[in-house]
């Protein structure tokens, strides 16, 4: 089943949902320099993966 799902996903072009776009726009809004496509890809991969335990807390999260 897993292989079938992977094959199905590979055959259809990936589309980003609103959550992904919101995340990318937040990155762009907070960037002081232009961001490359590769950096955006890396950011998407980091976001879709499990939360990193070493990630520092957000500035307004206590």
């Amino acid at each position: 089943m897993g292989n079938v799902e992977v094959e199905k996903r590979m055959s259809t072009p990936v589309k980003l949902n609103d959550e992904d776009v919101t995340y990318l726009l937040t990155l762009l809004r907070n960037a002081s320099q232009p961001i490359t496509t590769q950096q955006l890809i890396d950011a998407l991969r980091r976001q879709s993966g499990p939360p990193e335990p070493s990630a520092p807390p957000m500035a307004n999260d206590s």
């Binding site: 726009l25 960037a31 980091r46």
Partner: protein, 574 residues
Amino acid sequence: MLSQPLELDVEFSGSEADRDLAAKLLGLMRARGRFMSANSPIRLNLASVAEYFEGTGVTGAETRLRAAIAANEPVFAIEEIDGQAVVVTTRRGIRAVDVDGGGRHDFAQRLTTPQPKPERPPVPVRERPRIDERWSTLQVTLDDLEEEAGEAEPLGEAEVPAMELAVEPIAVAEAPAEPIGEEAPAPPLARTITIPVVSPTDVTGIDDLELATAIRQRLAADLRVANFGEQWLMEDRVPRFSRGDLRRLREYLQEQEQPLADDVLAQDVLGVRAGSAEFELTRFAIDYRLSREKEFEFVGTANQRFWSTSGLPPIGTIRRKTNELGTDYRFLLDEMPENPAYRTVASVDHVLTFFEYIHGLLPYDAEMQQLLPAPLQPNQRGAVLTFECPQSYTTYLVELRYPTPNRGGFILGLDDFYTENLVPGAIVSISRTENDGHYRVEYLAESGQNGRLLELDERRAQRYVFRPTTFACGIEASMLLTEDRVGGLNGEKPLDEKVRRRPEAVVAATFERVGQHRGGNYSATFDTLLAGVNVERPMSGTLLRSTLENDDTGAFSLDPEGQDVYTYVPGNTP
């Protein structure tokens, strides 16, 4: 203005003379204070009044006035002001009353005494928005970006919670009211509003190329996002240029007489120092803003972003127009792969033809396409590249013309490199560097050789001649145009433009020029033909072979006795 006369009957006391005089006095004082309010005191100096009545024939006016005033105390009064007697009354005919309100409506007091501040109700305690765990990577990502940019900028904290609120599931439930009695209306049902949680797309297992396409599809269509090449930023964060800035950029390009890269424009025109915090942002602003201006044309690559404008001298040969060269190379369109693999090879070796040599050209064929970068912008016509020759310590500015639907691509601007170092038939090697706009071009350095080589004599009428030449570069012998091999070209004029447009006609003419005449026919090896036809026009081995093999008239045929030798029968000229 609407005015209403104040007519109040006043009864006077005293003798008839006193009443008469009092009535006249009141009339006089009402006339004096006709624009005053009804209760305002009207004051007249008693001496002046007496003098007035003296003038009307009243004798002993002051004495009589005092008597009349004393007889009508409810109407008049006499005040002492600065030692002078002053008659006081009002338009209503009563003695002036004290109407001082104690300054209750004094503007000065009202304006200088502010009202007390209203008491604010206590602010309810706001529930702290909780952050979805998935967003915990945002800070890490931003930190990484800042580190890559080489500077630390504080994160806009206000932005983040708003974004989490958008994805936080919210459930609002209204508690039902308790029924008071049996006749109480039925309580409304509990209403629940649930916003579905949108989880981020799982991108594991998706390659970078596909993700990049997905990102471009979504962000390129968003007007809030500025994009140039592979760089992205919010549009409102990209600095804008005034009309004066654009004019200075255009004039600087025209003054330098060549396309310039964005980093040069940022430093020389806009005065932004390289390495400063805003340098990269300024470069991006130049690229993004100029790409939206019609008077500028992007002619760069991802790493060397050159800009051009109208009025710049052309790069490369002026012997032929670029449109004509594109038509000459049209055959390359048929030899290009459907899915080009840009920048997939490290270097390309190429043997120079005579046509390329005299025009300073290189063909943009399938091999060259694999070496050079793809157009960065849609509808980009060309790219200015730098070719560095380490053997002569010289860097040449060349222009790559990308193919169009009906014209082939080519590189021009190598005239000086060829004439200073090479001869037709020389082998050159073009290798890429990390910079996709910068390439190394080299030739095989060898000991000097002599030979009578073909040249185009342009002193008077154009003719092909052979002259003794010394060269010190590696050559492909089959493409070297010596007098021994292609002596028939000596003294020949270049073909007419109408003839040279047709490959078959050029091949036929080449047979007659360089072929061996045997029994009315001409025969020549394929290599000699290839070198010979490329004197007049560019022609690849594939095109030449196709022209020879697919000739319907039978003019060209493969000689079965020779090794890759073809024969041409002149009567059947295609």
